[in-house]
């Protein structure tokens, strides 16, 4: 379908990261309510529902169908996406495409997730093992930090990066998130605390892993132009979804072929496409909110975005260039390391942060933010999405 309309985020809703003792569908109803109120859109206007598939341990299956019945909502499009950490990104991008094409006028995108209800060494780990090659890899017993530990090792090895310095990316991100009541942590950490936290998968330490938690987020996407029923202008400042990009490399977790595992071509190509679509070069964006679950991944993404040369991503952080008041702010929200990390929700948190930055209401606000680029990823960044947001007129 051809692009005929501009899609905008009319409203946002967010449940603070933490622990919730109510079912996922009630979290969904809460966060949807908040987003609709923020957009000043009524439930009856919604004609598309987009979400990541609930995690395998969520009791309610057929989640969207159940929810549509509860909400008394008839829609023309629904989708539940199941591709790990990119699920929320793909759900959102599908909604944007449907609004652009005219298939729907008011798209509701949401994600909810509870990790507090699952035993990490039992059923959760069984699920993780099942994401590896079932024949040849699952029986080895590798965890996700175990995977990223190896790219951290290679990154330090190939670029002569000082492993201890990677802790500074965590320090920056925890610091960025500390003042925001919606995040999991309310205190920053220092370098010693990061390097002194317990080892999870050498060389990765606990504070270098994103903390699993419960949470939820929702966004209402509408059309700016089109039939004149523009709802987004009624709220404080319109935020355009300017550019979409997506890519998947021919790789699975650590199994690339000739490429180094210290390169993330999916991010590079998705960001390039989103920038082209959004009319703004990927290294000329005001704020970056990447999905970067481990510190060296944020460093490598800095490189893949074309902001610095290969191997110089960490140095950019050490020099303050990625700070909120730096040359190219990265993760002013704290990202998944600073905020806490429900992976189905994290891409939507990035979008909510983009909207807040462009509205001027972010907890750690970047001055004069007009463009924000966000990413999502799954596996060992085998697949990625990139989305550019722009301040509306």
């Amino acid at each position: 379908m051809t692009v005929t309309r501009t899609a905008s985020v009319a409203g946002i809703g967010l449940l603070p990261n933490g622990t919730y003792s109510i079912p996922e569908r009630e979290l969904a109803i809460d966060v949807i309510h908040e987003a609709l109120e923020d957009a000043a859109v009524s439930m009856a206007d919604v004609d598309g529902l987009y979400m990541p598939s609930p995690r395998p341990w969520t009791k309610q299956k057929f989640f969207s169908t159940n929810l549509l019945h509860l909400l008394g909502l008839e829609v023309d499009r629904t989708i539940e996406v199941s591709t790990g950490g990119t699920s929320g990104g793909k759900a959102f991008q599908t909604a944007v495409s449907d609004v652009r094409s005219g298939a729907v006028d008011t798209a509701l995108v949401f994600a909810v997730e509870r990790n507090s209800v699952i035993e990490t060494t039992g059923p959760y780990f069984d699920y993780i093992l099942s994401t590896f090659d079932a024949n040849f890899e699952s029986p080895i017993g590798m965890s996700i930090p175990g995977v990223y530990a190896q790219s951290m090792q290679r990154y330090c090895h190939e670029y002569d990066v000082k492993r201890e310095d990677l802790a500074e990316i965590v320090v920056k991100n925890r610091d960025n998130a500390a003042a925001d009541p919606d995040t999991l942590f309310d205190k920053p950490v220092d370098r010693e605390a990061v390097l002194g936290s317990r080892p999870i998968a050498d060389p990765i330490r606990l504070y270098e892993c994103p903390a699993p938690c419960d949470g939820g987020a929702a966004l209402v996407v509408t059309s700016d132009d089109g039939d004149g029923s523009d709802t987004s202008s009624e709220t404080e400042g319109t935020v355009e979804v300017a550019g979409l990009g997506s890519h998947h490399a021919a790789s699975h977790l650590l199994m690339t072929r000739d490429e180094s595992i210290t390169e993330l071509p999916a991010v590079r190509k998705a960001a390039r496409e989103a920038s082209r679509d959004g009319g703004r070069a990927r290294d000329e964006i005001d704020v970056y909110e990447p999905y970067a679950p481990f510190p060296h991944i944020e460093a490598i993404i800095t490189e893949e975005l074309g902001l610095v040369d290969r191997g110089a991503g960490l140095e950019a952080c050490l020099d303050g260039r990625t700070a909120a008041d730096g040359e190219f702010p990265i993760s002013p929200s704290g990202g998944c390391l600073g905020r806490g990390h429900p992976p189905m929700v994290t891409p939507l948190y990035n979008y909510v942060e983009a909207v807040r930055q462009l509205r001027g209401t972010a907890s750690t606000q970047v001055l004069d933010a007009n463009y924000v680029l966000t990413t999502s990823e799954h596996g060992h960044v085998n697949g990625a999405t990139a989305t550019v947001f722009a301040k509306g007129e």
């Binding site: 990490t120 060494t121 039992g122 780990f125 069984d126 993780i128 093992l129 590896f132 090659d133 024949n135 040849f136 890899e137 699952s138 029986p139 080895i140 017993g141 590798m142 965890s143 930090p145 175990g146 530990a149 190896q150 790219s151 090792q153 290679r154 090895h157 317990r198 080892p199 999870i200 998968a201 050498d202 060389p203 990765i204 021919a250 977790l253 650590l254 199994m255 690339t256 072929r257 595992i261």
Partner: protein, 135 residues
């Protein structure tokens, strides 16, 4: 009930102490895991070949958080076989003794963990050990 899969031959050979990979008859790419199509040129003309299992240690970790049925610590990593392909493998060595680029051999061994391998539960699995540089 267990289905017979394409990789059956790998597991049968592994039981006999041989490590099989795949080669493409059109572009000569060597690849793993075995599959009926070449991931490099997409030719369907592919064959089984034997690897002597030797290669270099590309990356490794010692995991301190493990699943039920596994020991409290496991050592695993990626080996680049001399024929080219990389694979993820358990490593039967102490973490502190390993260095990137170590010469290693991937060999069959009895599967040691309490993890349900389903149809493969009767077969050995594989692990890497370090070998002398000139092997």
């Amino acid at each position: 009930m267990c289905e017979t899969s394409y990789t059956e031959r790998f597991w049968e050979a592994l039981s006999d102490g041989r490590f099989l990979i795949h080669t493409c008859n059109d572009c000569e790419e060597r690849f793993f895991p075995p599959a009926p199509v070449c991931p490099s040129c997409h030719s369907w003309s592919v064959d089984w070949i034997e690897s002597n299992g030797t290669g270099e240690l590309y990356s490794f970790t010692r995991q301190h958080a493990t699943a039920d049925g596994f020991p409290d610590e496991i050592v695993a990593g990626v080996v680049e076989l001399d024929e080219g392909p990389r694979l993820l493998t358990a490593i039967d060595e102490a973490y502190a003794d390993l260095v990137l680029g170590d010469r290693v051999r991937v060999e069959p061994r009895e599967y040691p963990h309490n993890y349900d391998r389903g149809c493969r539960s009767e077969y050995p699995f594989f692990a890497a050990t370090t070998i002398d540089g000139d092997e």
